[in-house]
């Protein structure tokens, strides 16, 4: 380290953006649970670490009408513990509660999980099936981007050099709608997903699937949506055949690699298994959703 890393804790988004714009080597962070290990592993050290946690707007969980707003620097532990949020988005809460240990979840955030742009990240597939939007502060004001559009490749995002994700918005799910997230890791905790699968299902009162979303993590450079699985579900009841079609479609949608955590063949097969299981769990939850009972 030739010049010691600087630390800044701006109080406003604009201050943070100004710092970022002024120093090309600066990095914003909230939990730093990916950033510090990456620096230790030999990535170039930022010239300045800009701590976003002192910006009020970036932390917190709020619901206004049918819109949830989650600060981009909110620790995922808070999201997991938020009973109202977890009741509406059980799968997204599950994904948020699977990242590392309790220690990590007290620090890590959706914003960091998304912009770190690891293909294996846990929350992006669950954010994507719920059609989450990222609100990004830019030089010209703010722009809103679908969570699915943020990561463009491993370690790469659509964010400009001086842009910061401020918050996420999510619409409350319609009645008889629920999500689920499953991941495969070799141990029970503390691993990176070998495969991740998120699903969201909406059921008609007669049990027919009226809407479905399936997304896979760790099987391609970015999260993969599985339209064929969604098409196989929509319009009919959740039969074993439909679930098998989900599995087939998920396996077919994968573009995985062989690496130290898994093989192409393993990821492909298990993506199908997890997608099928996630859809089944989401559908069970949707069927149990009392908000739709009267309709």
């Amino acid at each position: 380290m030739l010049a010691p890393m600087k630390y800044a804790a701006p109080a406003t988004v604009e201050e943070a953006r100004a710092l970022l714009a002024a120093d090309g080597g600066a990095r914003v962070f909230a939990g730093a649970t990916d950033l510090i290990p990456q620096i230790r592993a030999g990535r170039p050290e930022p010239s300045m670490m800009i701590d976003l946690k002192r910006i009020d707007r970036l932390s917190g969980i709020a619901r206004a009408g049918s819109t949830w707003t989650i600060g981009a620097a909110t620790p995922t532990a808070d999201i997991v513990a938020h009973a109202g949020f977890a009741a509406e988005f059980p799968g997204l809460a599950e994904a948020s509660g699977l990242i590392g240990s309790d220690q990590i979840q007290n620090r890590c955030t959706w914003g960091g999980n998304l912009v770190n742009a690891s293909p294996a990240a846990d929350t992006p597939p669950a954010l994507i099936v719920n059609d989450a939007k990222a609100v990004i502060a830019s030089a010209g004001g703010e722009r809103t981007v679908a969570a699915a559009e943020v990561a463009t490749g491993p370690g790469a995002t659509c964010l400009g050099a001086d842009e910061i994700i401020v918050e996420f918005t999510l619409a409350s799910p319609p009645p008889r709608t629920a999500d689920a997230y499953l991941r495969l890791i070799p141990r029970t905790e503390m691993d990176i997903a070998v495969v991740g699968a998120a699903a969201r299902v909406t059921l008609a009162p007669d049990g027919a699937v009226t809407a479905a979303a399936v997304a896979l993590g760790a099987v391609a450079p970015t999260v993969v949506r599985v339209p064929d699985a969604e098409a196989a579900l929509i319009g009919g009841p959740l039969t074993d055949d439909a679930l098998e079609a989900v599995a087939q479609a998920a396996s077919a949608a994968c573009r995985p690699i062989d690496d130290k955590r898994g093989t192409v063949a393993y990821r492909r097969r298990v993506a199908g298994v997890l997608a099928r299981r996630a859809v089944a769990i989401a559908a069970d939850r949707a069927a149990a959703d009392q908000r739709g009972a009267s309709s």
Partner: protein, 768 residues
């Protein structure tokens, strides 16, 4: 603090099989416990000296390369840098020199031999300055092809890593250098006749990958070299006398110039029986004229310290229809990293050691690779050899329709059986361990869907070696017991318990101390499960001489002949009863008048080790669609001889089982094609976490070792031997698939479930 006031009494009655003791077999709070739950205990990295510098090692990015040049000029000119060293600063070592392997391993000379190999080291005012300077040391390499697999090492067409290494033990003596460093052969009887007499013969191949001990405390050292040519070294190790000897040898110094002060040790499991940083820190300190502290990162621990070898075996066993094993044949290879080791010898010794097999032949090769030099890991070589034997025994039992414990009972070695080396076994408790598992409620408990149960056994011979202990009686009747064995997992408490038993004073009136190399007699490394056995013997020896001294002094005080004075319950007792008993404190209070301070040293080279056996029982549940294996129930029985402190005996059993489970399921070194380690961290080198494991029911079997004053056998190592096979046998029971390549990761298990047909008959034959 309130701890020493709440002295929990023994929570378990000692078994009737051995004498009842007042202290031995109870469970007092360990003497060093309070410091370890309050953060006060000082481990290696917790030592700081005024004016100390930070040291940092420059490591090779190549698995094999010639060093063309090392330019330290830029680094030396950087801010805060006080010293830079490289291979040329150490005494030259020639190939064949006894110090060659360790010397070259500490610091590369003309070549780097594995990724992470040290090539230079820097000391600077701050850690950041040291790291920056290390990055500025310019090393020019000419990459050489690395040898990375056992198959490659065994291939005569692949060039030898060491031009001076010829296979030892080969007959005739080889004329070409080889990557096979050593060959071990054991044979007895007529193996072919033995297989011909068998009704079923099964032959299988097994592979395992290198695994790391995974101690949580990285290696760390602080060294202070003074201008009179002496140095003091603070570090954690499994034996500070060994650190002293090795550091002196590496520097070419006389032993007396170095003092090693043991810090608390944050786990070792065999991995801290050798040195990596100490001579570097001493040399940097001598060059800079200031103390130097060096702490490894976790990545350095994985890349540059010694894992356990990988292995590749072919094992064949034959049995008659009644279950009697008739013959065995084993062809084994262990990869010990870049330098030779005893791995193959130990594997050859242990592979058939548990069973009374009339005819066998074993051939074991130790091979070298461009990977880190392997180090001891808890019962070195035996977990791999037991994986092979215990899997094939399980398959034989299955083929013959015999209960797996019954199969083992029929063949288990017992007193008088001749071991692999040709010596008779003393009294051992293998049968008792098998019976303990057979009779345990776990053995017959129902299993759920996708669950399977496996059993496996393990044996370790244990070792004795040299130990010293000094017992000082204090004026008030308390005692200090100083030994040279680091306390890795409760040995202070064990020493205090044995001393309390001998002296007859309370265990908390004894202060057990781990002395530095200048305050206690020579003591060998804590290895081979020897600390409680051998250092315990030295403590008992010293205490008995203290008691003899106390009796003499009491006789003086009573005015009687010493032959009339006995020692009982902490008091000198006059045989005739004419004098009141003199408690120990009454004698120490008068020590000045009866001959001066009471201090005694016991030193010995311990003989009469008691071999140890263990039998483990494992239930797993396998997800048939993902291959994920979860251990759902685990019971481990082990013969401790006598459990001095049962809690820490259980702890050794549980800890070894957990390490073995990790080895079986997920732990492995992963290298890319260039020999660069891909998983040098706890994220992808997956040791078990708390949620991966069930409770581990530790069943202590006590068949006392007749050659130890309290019957101790040593318990540290045997517990890691059975789990590999116990888990593999359980997975086989759950899935119908035998997986013989470790680790049994989800990828491998699912592949076995999906892709292989029933393989239970391949390469097995029936003679009947």
């Amino acid at each position: 603090m309130t701890v020493t006031e709440s002295r929990p009494e023994s929570s378990s009655e000692p078994p009737a099989a051995r004498p009842r003791y007042r202290f031995v077999g109870t469970r007092p709070v360990r003497h060093d416990g309070l410091d370890k739950v309050t953060g006060r205990a000082r481990f290696a990295a917790d030592c700081d000296l005024p004016g100390q510098l930070a040291g940092c090692v420059v490591r090779s990015p190549h698995a094999h390369a010639r060093i063309i040049s090392i330019d330290t000029g830029e680094a030396e000119a950087m801010p805060g840098v006080k010293a830079v060293i490289s291979g040329g600063d150490f005494p030259a070592v020639a190939p064949g020199d006894p110090n060659y392997d360790m010397g070259v391993n500490l610091m590369a000379r003309d070549r780097v031999l594995y990724e992470g190999h040290a090539v230079a080291a820097v000391a600077a005012l701050t850690t950041d300055q040291a790291r920056a300077a290390a990055a500025a040391v310019r090393v020019e390499y000419e990459p050489l092809p690395p040898v990375l697999t056992i198959d490659a090492a065994l291939d005569p067409a692949v060039g030898a890593i060491h031009a001076h290494m010829f296979t030892s033990g080969a007959d005739p003596a080889p004329t070409e250098p080889s990557n096979v460093s050593q060959l071990t052969n054991f044979a007895r009887g007529d193996t072919e006749a033995g297989f011909a007499a068998a009704d079923v013969v099964i032959e299988r191949e097994f592979t395992t990958q290198p695994v790391h001990q995974g101690y949580i405390e990285p290696h760390a050292v602080t060294a202070d070299a003074s201008q009179d040519g002496k140095a003091t070294v603070w570090c954690s190790s499994q034996g500070h006398f060994n650190v002293r000897a090795q550091t002196a040898a590496m520097l070419g110094w006389e032993t007396a110039r170095i003092k090693v002060v043991p810090a608390e040790i944050g786990g070792g499991f065999g991995g801290k029986t050798t040195i990596y940083l100490e001579p570097l820190a001493v040399l940097l300190s001598a060059k800079a004229g200031r103390p130097v502290k060096m702490v490894m990162t976790r990545s350095e621990v994985f890349r540059a310290t010694g894992p356990a070898p990988g292995s590749k075996f072919r094992v064949k066993l034959g049995a008659r229809s009644d279950g009697t094993l008739t013959a065995g044949k084993a062809q084994m290879a262990y990869s010990s990293g870049v330098f030779p080791s005893y791995a193959a010898f130990l594997g050859a010794w242990t592979v058939f050691e548990s069973y009374d097999i009339a005819d066998f032949e074993v051939e074991a090769r130790n091979v070298v690779l461009n990977t880190p030099r392997s180090a001891a890991y808890r019962a070195p070589s035996a977990p791999m050899s037991a994986l092979a034997t215990e899997t094939v025994v399980d398959e034989l039992a299955q083929a013959l329709g015999i209960d797996p414990i019954e199969m083992r009972l029929r063949n288990a070695v017992s007193e008088g059986a001749i071991n692999t080396l040709g010596a008779p076994f003393p009294r051992v408790g293998f049968t008792e361990c098998l019976e303990a598992i057979r009779d345990h409620p776990h053995y017959g408990a129902p299993l759920g869907p996708n669950q399977g149960r496996g059993v496996a056994a393990g044996h370790w011979f244990n070792i004795g070696e040299s130990s010293s202990a000094t017992v000082n009686l204090n004026e008030d009747g308390t005692a200090t017991v100083v030994t040279g064995s680091p306390d890795i997992g409760g040995s202070r408490a064990s020493m205090a318990l044995m001393a309390a038993e001998e002296l007859g004073i309370d265990v908390y009136d004894i202060t057990p101390v781990v002395g530095d190399t200048e305050s206690v007699g020579f003591t060998d490394i804590t290895e081979g499960s020897r600390a409680t056995f051998a250092t315990g013997m030295a403590v008992v020896e010293a205490c008995r001489r203290v008691v003899a001294d106390l009796r003499g002094r009491a006789a003086k005080m009573m005015g009687v002949d010493v032959s009339e004075v006995d020692w009982a319950d902490g008091s000198a007792v006059h045989a005739g009863g004419e004098h009141d008993p003199l408690p120990l404190a009454a004698i120490t209070a008068e020590a000045k008048k009866t001959g001066g301070p009471i201090t005694v040293t016991g030193s010995l080279d311990a003989k009469g080790v008691g071999p140890s056996f263990a039998v483990h029982l494992c239930d797993v549940e396998v997800d048939p669609e993902t291959g994920v294996v979860q251990v759902v129930r685990y019971t481990a029985a082990q013969d401790a001889g006598t459990a001095i402190h049962p809690s820490y005996v259980e702890g050794q059993i549980q800890g070894g089982a957990a390490q073995g489970i990790g080895w079986a399921l997920n732990e492995e070194y992963i290298y890319d094609g260039d020999g660069v380690m891909e998983n040098p961290g706890f994220l992808d080198y997956r040791v078990p976490v708390a949620s991966d494991l069930p409770m581990i029911d530790a069943v202590i079997v006590e068949v006392p070792n007749p050659n130890h004053p309290y019957g101790v056998r040593g318990v540290g190592e045997t517990s890691i031997i059975p789990p590999l096979a116990a888990v593999a046998n359980a997975v086989a029971a759950a899935t119908g698939r035998r997986i013989r390549d470790l680790p049994m990761s989800p990828v491998r298990v699912l592949d076995a479930i999906v892709n292989s047909g029933s393989d239970s008959t391949d390469s097995s034959s029936s003679n009947g």
